[in-house]
């Protein structure tokens, strides 16, 4: 834990100069034109949090409808819209933007010793497209025409013939639109990780969180085109009368499933990989030891993403594919277990052989480990084809994926929110309330989702707006609904804790937990320029290398590696992070938000099938893009 001593006068002058160069204006204009990765991370945080709340309300309505048999809280049509929007919201608008947009954006440059992402304006653009596309999708709900064919929208149900209204068009166009945001983010992360690491941070000295972001970014770049293809084909069928999925014209509805799940399965690893990264950041800090088998864990994170591309048809074991194909996919699905098993064992061993401090962030990670084990084990069971052919499309699967999504992605997010709250806000949260919030959330989560395993094995199918009273499902559904309310209470406790702590929490220093990564070397919150001196890095646990951190202070005093001539950050070579060149970074810009809004208009026109107007707006977008690229990034 560092103490901050007042820097000598020369150093203070340098800090002031850096401040003047990097500081962005406050107020609405400042936020609309921001290119600071920290501000963008905060914008992502609150926006994805808002969508998480929306998805949570949808979930509570679903659970309330299923409280008892033959429920009448909502109509069948509204229920089907709710369950579709719940899936779409949670996956595309909440969990992924939260992890990649909020955590990834805020932390990655700090962890690699950089002053911003490689493409700061592209970063801002990603956020604004995310916001506008989310609004686009939710406009469907405002006009009473939300998509209602499930988050994977199988055809022919999703075709114009069986879903004649605009709901599915909101789905197809909205997700293509959101995909632009995510693809841009992924590209930004890859380039940042490869080129902007502080000189000396060779790839084997990069923190594990960054490995997770690298893996997830590659997965996104390769998976999203498959989804976009499927969505474009579907929209062409729906709007222009083509027949990609139309059996009568030689099309194939099963092709939708292949295209969708080729994306959809890597998507679930995309959901979970950043959470692995958060866990690997929290565990060493609270276990007070380095990660066991660091290299194996880093490799495993990459392998999960890679092998995850080969398993997609395990979502299709009941479609009637040839046996030999199914056997291949089942084998691949079992192979993908191995990297997860490696990581689980390494995490548990690290905790067990360290001196773990069971404080709130670590409690959430231990909860994550327990829940991920359960979700992972039920996942292994579904790789047994005959068992899957009974469990598929029942609540057993709903239980499985909520354990891996909520348990294994959201729990680390909650732990990470607590962990980095002091860094972002400069205040400490309340530890006792934190522990209470963990236990209530953990209890609520299990109470909601564990009985789903049972009720699924009692034959309850998924996506049913009600169920009969004579089949033995009623009591379990009641428990699940009560659990959902308890879970909501736990989550609200977290929010309340953080809201109150934001105002009245004790001031946090640079490093309240004894963290191992570089974000803990700067103030809480970090200065606009992140690092006064580009840090020297000798290991993946840069904060624990005290000599290097003391050398940084020496260099500030001597003016070495401060890079104060403008918006400057160094770039380095890909593998060994030798000095490459000094980059000039852009300052605030209107182009990202304007371009995002114009693109929103393009998609809105396509939804309304005013294609000529859409083309007009696309031309306008081209002009904005030209304006964006007109000049090199300016020195402040």
């Amino acid at each position: 834990m560092t103490t901050t001593t007042a820097p000598p006068r020369a150093a203070q002058r340098r800090l002031d100069r850096l401040e003047r160069i990097w500081e962005e204006p406050s107020g609405l204009v400042g936020w609309l034109t921001t290119v600071d990765h920290k501000r963008i991370g905060i914008l992502y945080f609150f926006t994805s949090l808002a969508f998480f709340v929306a998805g949570g309300i949808e979930a509570l309505l679903i659970r309330t409808q299923l409280l008892g048999p033959n429920g009448t809280v909502v109509s069948p049509e509204l229920y089907n819209q709710l369950m579709t929007m719940h899936g779409v919201t949670m996956i595309f608008l909440a969990v992924i933007p939260m992890q990649i947009g909020a955590f990834g954006n805020y932390l990655l440059p700090l962890m690699i010793g950089a002053r911003d992402m490689a493409f700061p304006r592209l970063n801002a653009f990603s956020y604004w497209v995310f916001l506008v596309s989310g609004i686009f999708i939710y406009t469907s709900m405002a006009v009473g025409a939300a998509p209602n064919a499930g988050w994977f929208d199988y055809v022919p149900l999703g075709s114009r013939q069986f879903s004649p209204g605009p709901g599915i068009d909101f789905y197809t166009l909205g997700l293509i639109f959101t995909g632009i945001s995510t693809t841009a983010s992924a590209i930004n992360f890859i380039v940042t990780i490869f080129k902007l690491r502080a000189p000396g941070m060779s790839l084997n000295r990069m923190p594990l969180f960054c490995y997770a972001i690298l893996a997830v970014s590659f997965a996104l770049v390769f998976a999203l085109p498959s989804l976009s293809t499927a969505l474009i084909f579907l929209e062409l069928d729906r709007a222009l009368g083509m027949h990609f999925f139309d059996v009568g014209f030689g099309g194939d509805p099963v092709m939708w499933q292949h295209l969708f799940w080729f994306f959809g399965h890597p998507e679930v690893y995309i959901i979970i990989l950043p959470a692995f990264g958060i866990a690997t950041a929290i565990i060493p800090t609270f276990a007070e030891r380095k990660m066991v088998a660091f290299a194996l864990v880093a490799l495993a994170e990459i392998l999960v993403a890679f092998i995850g591309f080969g398993v997609w048809a395990h979502h299709m074991f009941t479609v009637g594919l040839p046996t030999v194909s199914q056997t291949y996919f089942a084998a691949a699905s079992m192979m993908v277990v191995i990297p997860s098993a490696i990581q689980l064992f390494a995490w548990i061993t690290t905790i067990a052989t360290g001196k773990p401090r069971f404080e709130t962030p670590l409690l959430f990670i231990i909860g994550f480990i327990v829940l991920f084990m359960i979700g992972g084990l039920t996942g292994v069971m579904t790789a047994a084809i005959p068992f899957d052919q009974q469990a598929h499309d029942t609540y057993f699967i709903v239980a499985h994926f909520h354990y891996v999504i909520f348990g294994a992605a959201v729990f680390p997010v909650l732990g990470g929110i607590y962990y980095w709250f002091p860094k972002v806000t400069g205040r400490m949260y309340n530890e006792r309330v934190g522990k209470v919030s963990f236990w209530v959330t953990f209890a609520g989560m299990n109470l909601t989702f564990f009985p789903m395993h049972i009720v699924g094995l009692l034959g309850m199918p998924r996506r049913v707006y009600s169920y009969p009273g004579d089949v033995g499902w009623s009591t379990l559904n009641l428990i699940e609904t009560l659990g959902a309310y308890l879970l909501a209470a736990g989550l609200l406790t977290i929010v309340a804790n953080l809201l109150v702590s934001y105002r009245r929490g004790a001031r946090a220093g640079n490093d309240p937990f004894g963290g191992d990564t570089l974000e803990w070397s700067v103030s809480s919150p970090p200065p606009s320029y992140n690092f006064p001196v580009i840090p020297k890095v000798s290991s993946p646990y840069a904060m624990w290398d005290r000599k290097d951190r003391e050398d940084d202070e020496q260099r500030l005093a001597e003016g070495e590696l401060v890079l104060e001539e403008g918006h400057e950050t160094p770039s380095s070579t890909v593998l060994d992070a030798d000095w490459d060149e000094i980059l000039d970074m852009p300052s605030k810009s209107w182009a990202p938000v304007v371009l995002a809004v114009v693109l929103g208009l393009v998609f809105a026109m396509m939804l309304l099938q005013h294609y000529v107007t859409a083309l007009g707006f696309a031309a306008l977008a081209g002009l904005v893009l030209a304006a964006w690229n007109w000049k090199e990034p300016q020195v402040a």
């Binding site: 069986f162 479609v319 052989t353 069971f358 069971m381 598929h392």
Partner: protein, 348 residues
């Protein structure tokens, strides 16, 4: 900062110990809850394929339980030993730890998974795989939004939602969809197969004893996916043959004047444009065949019982029973409804 201080010799947090004692009791309760519970449970198998899958499940659960318990033991050990570095007795041993990650993260999982793969995906899958196209007795089941048409090839027999089969006889269900993707599933007899438009899937049903086996559509197919039940009734072979013979016959001629009036109402009120009643001009293909409607136990795909009052409600206001159903509400007078009911109830 941490919860509960350790006192020499006693674990600091009694809650954890209590939880571990509760776990075996909880699992016993769960097993009791599950055993033989409910008419739609794949864990109440009534045929060999379903039984083998059920056994597979219990073994997987047991192995998963062992793995999970092992991990929990390690976490609890981490709690108990949180003031000491490294392994018990052995202390700090990085190479040993790396080796244990390889052993428990790679070697043991690979062995377990290969065993599971061999048993389930090479062994059991041969039992549950689709029967060959030329196997024995076939029944064609076509999924529509939101009901199942049931045909017996080689006979004129057509019915809906309630399939009869001979007990102790292998029967191949050949299923396709009329519109969107559905999925045919009788959990206690075998796994599910999707009903696709334009591509037939097959699943074998072999009921070891006579009885009724409930199922449901198992692929989201639109507004009333939740109300698309299906059932299989297995009868002794002679009873089945008698049933099939009566189902193959045209409708029994209406015997009373009221029933004859009812048939006129049926023909004049658009019913014939969607429904078939063999032996009459009604040849509609949109909705279920009604030739022997009264032999069915339920209406609207197992949504309501097939009794006079329910039938009346269904015919007069289908949207109240199954919102979104393709059947329009008919504008019937009281006497017309009474006649129609008399007629429909005569269709044995």
């Amino acid at each position: 900062m941490s919860v509960g201080r350790a006192v020499a010799g006693r674990p600091a947090d009694p809650r954890r110990g209590r939880w571990r004692r509760v776990a075996p009791l909880a699992s016993a309760v769960l097993v009791a809850l599950l055993a033989g519970c409910g008419p739609l449970s794949p864990l109440d198998p009534q045929s060999e394929p379903a039984r083998r899958i059920s056994v597979l499940w219990w073994v997987m659960l047991a192995v998963a339980g062992v793995v999970f318990a092992g991990a929990c033991v390690m976490l609890v050990a981490g709690w108990i030993r949180r003031r000491e570095w490294g392994l018990p007795v052995l202390g700090e041993r990085p190479r040993l730890l790396d080796g244990s990650v390889v052993a428990f993260g790679i070697v043991i999982p690979v062995i377990t998974l290969v065993a599971l793969f061999a048993w389930a995906n090479v062994g059991i899958v041969q039992e549950t795989d689709s029967p060959p196209p030329d196997a024995g007795m076939k029944i064609e089941v076509t999924g529509s939004q939101w009901w199942w048409q049931v045909r017996y090839p080689g006979t004129p027999a057509v019915t809906a939602n309630e399939i009869h089969i001979p007990a102790r006889t292998p029967v191949t269900i050949v299923t396709e969809a009329e519109d969107v993707i559905h999925s045919f599933w009788i959990p206690r007899l075998n796994r599910k197969v999707d009903s696709l438009p334009g591509h037939a899937n097959r699943v074998e049903l072999f009921a070891e004893r006579p009885g009724v086996y409930r199922g449901s559509c198992a692929e989201f197919c639109g507004q009333q996916h939740a109300r698309m039940g299906v059932s299989v009734r297995a009868d002794p072979p002679e009873r089945f043959r008698a049933w099939l013979a009566s189902m193959s016959a045209p409708r029994p001629a209406p015997a009373t004047p009221l029933a004859r009036r009812g048939e006129q109402v049926f023909m004049s009120k658009q019913c014939a444009s969607c429904h078939t009643i063999r032996g009459t001009p009604a040849r509609g293909e949109v909705g279920p065949d009604l030739t022997h409607l009264k032999t069915r136990a339920t209406l609207a795909a197992l949504t309501i019982p097939n009794r006079r009052g329910y039938l009346a409600g269904w015919v007069v206001d289908p949207q109240a029973v199954k919102e979104g159903a393709k059947m329009p509400a008919l504008d019937l007078t009281g006497p017309e409804l009474q006649a129609l009911l008399e007629y429909l109830e005569s269709l044995r």
